[in-house]
């Protein structure tokens, strides 16, 4: 099986509220999969379970052959899942470069004693890390912004920096939570191209939560639709566009309430 990630009957309850209800979900290797649905459909909750922010109430999540259900976020990141946040969560008072360096945390080895002594090996590691961080910034379209504080970057660049920072964790799977929210059409187009390049140039799989249907239909191999915590449809972008239940959920004919 060439599935990078498999979620089986994953469920999350908050008190009495079922946010995500027994969802089965897979992400094949080197694919771009989108998760769509109206607000409050449980997309971000699902996302947060994949990345370990929430513990699923029930179900199993396997990534690259390892059961990651209930593992802490940093361990899942270390295994190769990078993510961005719906509301940008950069380290605002660190520079762009430092943000990316934090992303490399799990891939670097500098411990306490070596950091204090600043051994040649450590200096080399830091130098290589910095070079790689600059490269990632350039790749993400942030050339020359290295020493700018994250909070001083324009909105679109902050989104890019989040991606650069996530790439720094050296993921096999990148989870993007509404990456084009708040972008103008030109920025959105550029970003869509960027996501495609991630797969072709970096060999990544991408899971995308997105509201902009042009982006979803443009880049996805497959689309999954959630509504009220349930999976109501799954298929190629074409199939989804013509799915009765999806149209109903989005247009809200009143039948769903």
């Amino acid at each position: 099986m060439a599935d990078l990630l498999t979620a089986t009957a994953v469920r999350k309850d908050f008190g009495g509220l079922v946010a995500v209800n027994d969802i089965d979900f897979t992400i094949p290797e080197r694919s771009i999969v989108s998760l769509i649905g109206p607000n409050g459909a449980g997309k971000t909750t699902f996302f947060n379970m994949l990345t370990g922010v929430y513990n699923p109430t029930a179900g199993r999540i396997v990534f690259a052959g390892v059961d990651v259900t209930g593992k802490p976020p940093h361990a899942i990141t270390e295994l190769g899942v990078g993510r961005t946040f719906q509301n940008i969560r950069l380290f605002s008072f660190m520079t762009a470069l430092e943000n990316v360096l934090v992303g490399m945390h799990a891939r670097l080895t500098g411990g306490i004693v070596r950091s204090i002594l600043r051994t040649p090996g450590l200096r080399r590691e830091e130098r290589v890390a910095r070079d790689r961080a600059r490269e990632l910034l350039r790749f993400s379209g942030l050339r020359g912004r290295d020493d700018e504080l994250a909070r001083n970057l324009p909105y679109g660049d902050q989104r890019r920096l989040e991606v650069a920072r996530a790439l720094a964790t050296e993921p096999q799977l990148l989870l993007l939570d509404e990456p084009t929210a708040g972008m103008n059409p030109q920025e959105t187009d550029a970003f869509t191209g960027f996501v495609s390049r991630l797969r072709s140039e970096q060999d990544l799989s991408v899971l995308l939560i997105e509201h902009d249907m042009r982006v979803v239909m443009g880049v996805s191999d497959r689309v999954t639709v959630l509504d009220y915590g349930e999976k109501i449809a799954e298929g190629t972008p074409k199939e989804i566009q013509h799915d009765e239940r999806v149209i109903e959920a989005y247009l809200g004919t009143g039948a769903t309430a």
């Binding site: 922010v53 380290f91 008072f93 430092e98 945390h105 670097l108 306490i112 950091s115 600043r118 490269e135």
Partner: protein, 412 residues
């Protein structure tokens, strides 16, 4: 990705910038060297400084300087926890106590059941009790206190900020109470109760050291023990500062700052929250332990009355006054408050009373004064006297301090 293309940056502006930063760095280095020089040579000019008119009384004695430096060292250690990692620790005094009692156990008459000597200088061979060279004891204290720090940290560091603060306060109270009641633990006298343990061996700046380093004859006299205590304290402080600065600029330091700014994002970037926080705690404890042990040796005793909540707050006040997260600020804050504590308040008080003819015991209200400093600083200059640049902006503009992910299910 085109790896061969090196980032070259834009031409001339870059060179000018480089020159300017080099100059700045030189200037700060020079300033630092002068400060260290002034400190190191303090013993040689303290007497003449104290003879100065009007000003003289404001120069602390050499003994007071040692105390000031030891407390500053603790403040720099606390700054790793509070300043770098953003974990409010209200029980740092526990580490001070752990360090002091390590010294008391391994370099005094406390355990007279055994007689064990190892490298202790200037202690008569047949003296009962464990007597290990203070230099080794400093190391032991550091390790023991680190373990204590980890033990306190593991269950508590997953708590949210204000709860963590209260829990550390709890440990800061439990440990001294344990020490006070520890004179009969299942019949065994571990801590000698409220009397404390005294005397504790001095580091023995004696023949061994002098022979090893070939110091001149004049340094073998007992009369300059004070100066040696002073210089050792300075060296320990410099060591703490050096480690603390190096750590700040390391992978771990970046992770601490990331956690301080946004825990959720830090965890998502692969920073293990518990481990990273525990390291901050352990390192803070490490330096607290050395300082505690050294101080115990300096004053030749460890007494439970020294380890009360107010000391934790006193240290916190040093960090706040100087600038949370700013090493240089904390040193200034530490020296200023340390001076106020040992001499300054008394000196100022007597001057004020002389001038106004009232009779007001200033030192009695020292903690009220520190409380006042804390409130004033938090209200009007939360970044401290010498702020760390990054922290200044954080405090002025606010950060995500409501974690989405509260680490409650993280096992490390």
């Amino acid at each position: 990705m085109a790896r061969e293309q090196r980032a070259t940056g834009g031409g001339g502006g870059r060179a000018a910038l480089l020159a300017r930063t080099t100059l700045e760095r030189l200037r700060s280095r020079a300033f630092l060297l002068v400060a260290i020089g002034l400190l190191l040579f303090y013993p040689s000019y303290v007497d003449s400084a104290q003879d100065l008119e009007l000003m003289g009384e404001f120069f602390p004695s050499l003994n007071s300087m040692v105390i000031m430096i030891v407390f500053t060292m603790m403040a720099v250690g606390l700054n790793i926890v509070v300043g770098y990692a953003g974990l409010l620790d209200l029980g740092y005094v526990a580490f001070y106590a752990a360090g002091a009692y390590t010294a008391a156990w391994f370099a005094s008459l406390q355990f007279e059941q055994v007689t064990f000597h190892f490298g202790a200088v200037g202690v008569s061979e047949d003296l009962p009790g464990i007597h290990i060279s203070i230099w080794l004891v400093l190391l032991l204290a550091a390790l023991f206190t680190t373990v204590v720090g980890i033990m306190i940290g593991l269950p508590t560091l997953r708590l949210r900020g204000d709860y963590l603060a209260i829990v550390t306060l709890g440990f800061g109270e439990i440990i001294p109470q344990f020490v006070r009641n520890g004179d009969s633990i299942a019949g065994f006298d571990l801590t000698h109760g409220t009397f404390g343990i005294s005397p504790i061996d001095s580091p023995g700046f004696g023949s061994t050291l002098n022979d090893t380093f070939g110091l001149p004859e004049s340094y073998r006299q007992a009369t300059n023990a004070q100066e040696l205590f002073f210089w050792t304290a300075v060296v320990l402080l410099l060591f703490t500062v050096f480690c603390s600065v190096r750590l700040r600029d390391s992978r771990l330091g970046r992770a601490w700052i990331a956690i301080r700014e946004d825990e959720t994002a830090a965890a998502a970037m692969g920073v293990p929250l518990m481990r990273t926080k525990t390291w901050a705690y352990a390192l803070g404890a490490f330096f607290g332990g050395i300082a505690g042990a050294y101080y115990a040796s300096f004053k030749s005793g460890a007494f439970p009355a020294d380890f009360y909540f107010n000391i934790s707050i006193f240290l916190l006040c040093m960090v706040i006054l100087g600038g949370i997260g700013s090493v240089w600020g904390v040193i200034v804050g530490g020296m200023v408050l340390g001076w106020l504590n040992v001499e300054g308040l008394a000196t100022i008080g007597s001057k004020v009373n002389e001038a106004t003819g009232i009779d007001f015991e200033v030192p009695k209200y020292q903690f009220g004064i520190y409380g006042f400093i804390i409130v004033l600083m938090m209200l009007f200059r939360p970044v401290g006297l010498i702020p760390e640049r990054r922290h200044q902006r954080e405090l002025e503009e606010g950060v995500h301090d409501e974690p989405l992910y509260d680490a409650t299910h993280e096992g490390n």
